[in-house]
Symmetry: D3
Subunit: 251 residues, 6 copies
């Protein structure tokens, strides 16, 4: 890490020079929300930023990492102590202001690198609105979703999805300080109910609070996580993301 | 059709009586957008309403069909003549006003029955906002997505997705007046480019206009559509949706 | 009916061709609200659309009918079962999005054909805002107000104004399925009170709920309605509206 | 003048005492806009305030006069030098803040006394929104519209409507400093055109700028104005308004 | 007073002529709020307007006085009878509309002449937003803050700040009708508490209601006020303000 | 550092336990903006967070540190490469969402610890709005403004204010990685002009871009900075801030 352009660590003359080659700004987007008893609440923000650092290093000198948007849309988690959630409109306003500021510096292509599933619908709306409103190219990606096939074949505990085998593995590789290894627990899933009828793959979708689904806030079995799996997911996704970015920059 | 409660066709004393048993309002949501040379632009609105009539009949006397929201978020299609698109915020405002009005009549559970994929991200945001803001239960569903397995096994022309084998089949069963049978054409897909790198399953997501992807506005082969396939998709989805609604009403 | 351009029933290539002559979009605007025991709640939306079809036929090939805005500002009626009301800001947002979309297709003149008195103040504000904001020509008209003189001389039951001799007559001509002929009742007017001091012609204006004024939701005597009167009102208004549109298109 | 409660001229202990009897706040609403070569641009604001002083004196000790809202919706006049126009949303926001502040002091009934026709549509929307949002009684009235019959029989120059026989007469009685008597001119009406097809009584309504209609900004013949006519209009309207207010306070 | 351009007292042809030399609009901004037992609630609005008249006379023919914004952000005073407060967003909306209207008349430089401290934060935000949004020069000034040194050396009763020696002195010179000379009282300061820890110069800032700090609504000793001090403050500030305006117009 | 409650580094069960004693949330607020050639652009965000860590440690177990708001209102700096600025409304929206989320966890007192002067006006408005809207206690403080007297007596290079002797000194103590010691430069102040007439202490205030005032983006002489001065400023301010917080918590 370190050889990519990281805006928070640069002076303005350094930025000025970097802008001669930069064609894309990468915006790490996280969340501040409960991650069960074994991960700290900044988990998504830290993972997005670490992944972002790797990505801009990979794309150097074409990309620049912006400050991290460290809170996101976490309304499902609001009943767990400490969770802070932005309204979808607030998140879009933050992104709009960032894009407009960076447009002023000559950047017109943006990738929101998102570590939190709860932000995806808002990003879909943001892509629609901001592309047309500002005349920019707006891309977004879940940090390691590009390695979905590796997840499908490697993750033993299903379903997974929050502070789980996948997420803890990624943290063990990217930011082990996020993990309380002594507290690792499997998800304490609640009996089927309204929540289970709204899970992906069911006819209906809808809003439910996380405690309806899991007593400890986890979905999946974090005790099966490993640094090795994390490394594989991160490295695979990173290569694919970098290639995908190069492709759209060229197209 | 006809034995369900359809609000547009009722007087207020009839509504008053219906409200003694009604526990859910079904809101048909469509779009007004191009559907290639062989479907009329109201396609999604009409299909949503027809499906909604079947669903409230199935659920009678527990459900009531509201007026159809006949325009939606169709920004991807704006460059094709005739398309009209609501901003995501406008669509949410319309839904909010409908829910608040109906809450005043004692209804607190809502299902938006959506026929247009471009509305889904906005509905995700709406579910998050309106559930918490109004204290209601807010569900949403794509009209026939509950029959995804039938689509996977029955549809020959892939990828499909817009004015295609699936959609024309559904229309032939539900509303054949939407189809110009003499004009049926397969999608005129453009060469791979930026658009193809942003299709589902790729690492990046982002906004693109439909004409980048298809010259005639279609994705899939409408010439393979049949009323029989439409009937199977609609009937399968309908049974599953109705059961899913009963389940959440009971839970 | 049918020889005018009706956007909901056209494919995009057909719209493209129509746009070569079209100079005005006609937007039918209704409401979803109680109309007493003898009219269904979609009354205003259906009448606006039917009238719109006649008008674009009359103006063919200069005009095109957009999808109907089927809900409007009906706050006065919210205490009657089934009424759904949009906030004035929501209605303006819907109109703005429609106008902007249609501007993209080359149309810059618009006529909102409104069947519901409760929308008029909002349309006045919309005309002011949208004309200046979008640089369009924005016209609006009550569907049959152009035949005010015929109403004054032909309508026997006064005051009239809601689900009354006039409105039921128009429905009997344009859309008889809206009328429950067996249930026709005169308005059940309440004793004079705050509401009567706020009726048109009094020094003060202000908001009141409809049930303060009429127990069954009607103002006027629907039992005196006739298809003949409806035809005369509609045909007179239609000729005058069409001429008025031609005049502003020429000026 | 002077024996009514005028908030701008009171200290807080005086207001506190007045609130023991006050049941209605009267809000004068004007405009800042051109009034031709013979009236100053604050005309509507000054007339509303003067009329308001008379009205609260008449209603003493039941009513209290608030500060004047001295600018309104004057978009039609924006092309004449000096005109300042508030957006409709801004005017509603100002009224909302005034009502909420005064609700905190125990007042729940409000009369907007409006001297400018261009504000009426916005007041209609405000009445609808603010009544329901704040739970208040919201009334509005044009300052001398209650004397419409007197106008119809006494005003010689028709049509009238802006800086005309009526308005100059009222000013000569209420605030003669607004009038440049040496500059009095009849309206310099433009040839018929789009504007004349949108005047009241025509099938279509719509927005047009005042200079399309009148070269000097006036409609009507100010040279026929008299203090006597002004006095009659003002005194008649005042008595009727005061009675109407007493009636709604009692109902 | 009187030889400056005062928009409220001009006709449009007079404004048209004035605009040939005018380079700056001066917007008086006040408040409607309690000023203790010895000043009327319109105090700030009246002082701002009087000061504005003097300033445009001083700057004649370069400046023009707009209508006074007579209410401002007075939330701290809302618990005293009669206070009316605008939300900060409402005040900014009013200013935006004024600036946009006046831009249409060719003015691009604005000075908000503010008599009320509670408006300052909002004006800071307005300066930031409106400058960039409208491309104007936006200046603001407290009416007599330019004479801060004279205050420091001449005012005996400290702390001062509301309906005090300074403010009553200014009123005795500019608008003696605002003062109830028989009721003059020193501020009835409350015992130290949360409010005193939030006064200027303390580590923390924050919102508190005025009655926490002063029982009669005054800060400072109005009994020591004099017309002479008022004249000195006003005349000193006026000269400095006028010079400062000339300097920025020249730079 | 480390013995205070830092929300980003805690799990939800740890937060739950902490909430038993916590009475105040400290929200670090920074900016992302140019700090001349010798400080990185995240300077204000990092200093706010470091200072926040010290403060919650000092107040332990009464206070909890929230995630840092790392971008703020930096419009003055937008023309220097890399600066990102939030609109004032966006910053208020972010703070509102944070406060509402934390209210749900039982916290009702908040201190925004702000390292950037450009945020102060927005915080003034936020304090006014959010206090009344949410019913919370909302405090804000510049990080080291409580040591103003130490600055006045210790700082040699005046004026100072941005990436200067004071700020670099604080960074050398709190976060030396922000400083490029080899690049330290005094401010490259521009000749007097419009900007100098708008500096604090002048009669007029208004918006100007930073490059009008300083070519390298600095105000003050960073070459005179020292870790010792930074330590004194930070430690003095910290003790005073902590005491001020304890005082308001007790009052």
């Amino acid at each position: 890490m370190g050889q990519g352009y990281v805006l928070t660590e640069m002076t303005w003359p350094e930025v000025k020079e970097a802008l001669e080659t930069v064609r894309l700004a990468v915006i790490p987007l996280g969340a501040h929300e409960q991650h069960g008893p074994h991960m700290t609440e900044s988990c998504d923000a830290v993972l997005a930023e670490r992944m972002g650092r790797l990505l801009v290093a990979e794309l150097h000198p074409l990309a620049l990492l912006t400050p991290t948007v460290s809170m996101g849309v976490s309304s499902h988690h609001l009943h767990f102590p400490g969770t802070i959630s932005l309204e979808p409109d607030t998140l879009i306003a933050v992104l709009r202001d960032m894009l407009r500021s960076l447009q002023g510096h000559g950047i017109s292509k943006f990738l929101v690198l998102n570590a939190h599933g709860g932000n995806q619908a808002t990003l879909g709306v943001a892509a629609d609105k901001l592309t047309r409103e500002l005349g920019v190219e707006f891309y977004y990606a879940k940090t390691t979703a590009a390695a979905k096939d590796v997840m499908d074949e490697s993750i033993a505990s299903k379903p997974y999805g929050h502070s789980c085998e996948r997420e803890v593995s990624e943290a063990l590789y990217l930011a082990p300080e996020l993990v309380r290894e002594a507290q690792l627990e499997p998800g304490a899933i609640q009996p089927p109910g309204r929540w289970s009828r709204l899970r992906p793959g069911n006819p209906l979708q809808g809003f439910y609070y996380y405690e309806e689904m899991t007593a400890n806030g986890c979905i999946g079995d974090a005790t099966r996580a490993s640094r090795e799996l994390g490394e594989r997911l991160v490295r695979t996704a990173l290569q694919r993301l970098a290639q995908a970015v190069r492709d759209v920059l060229d197209s």
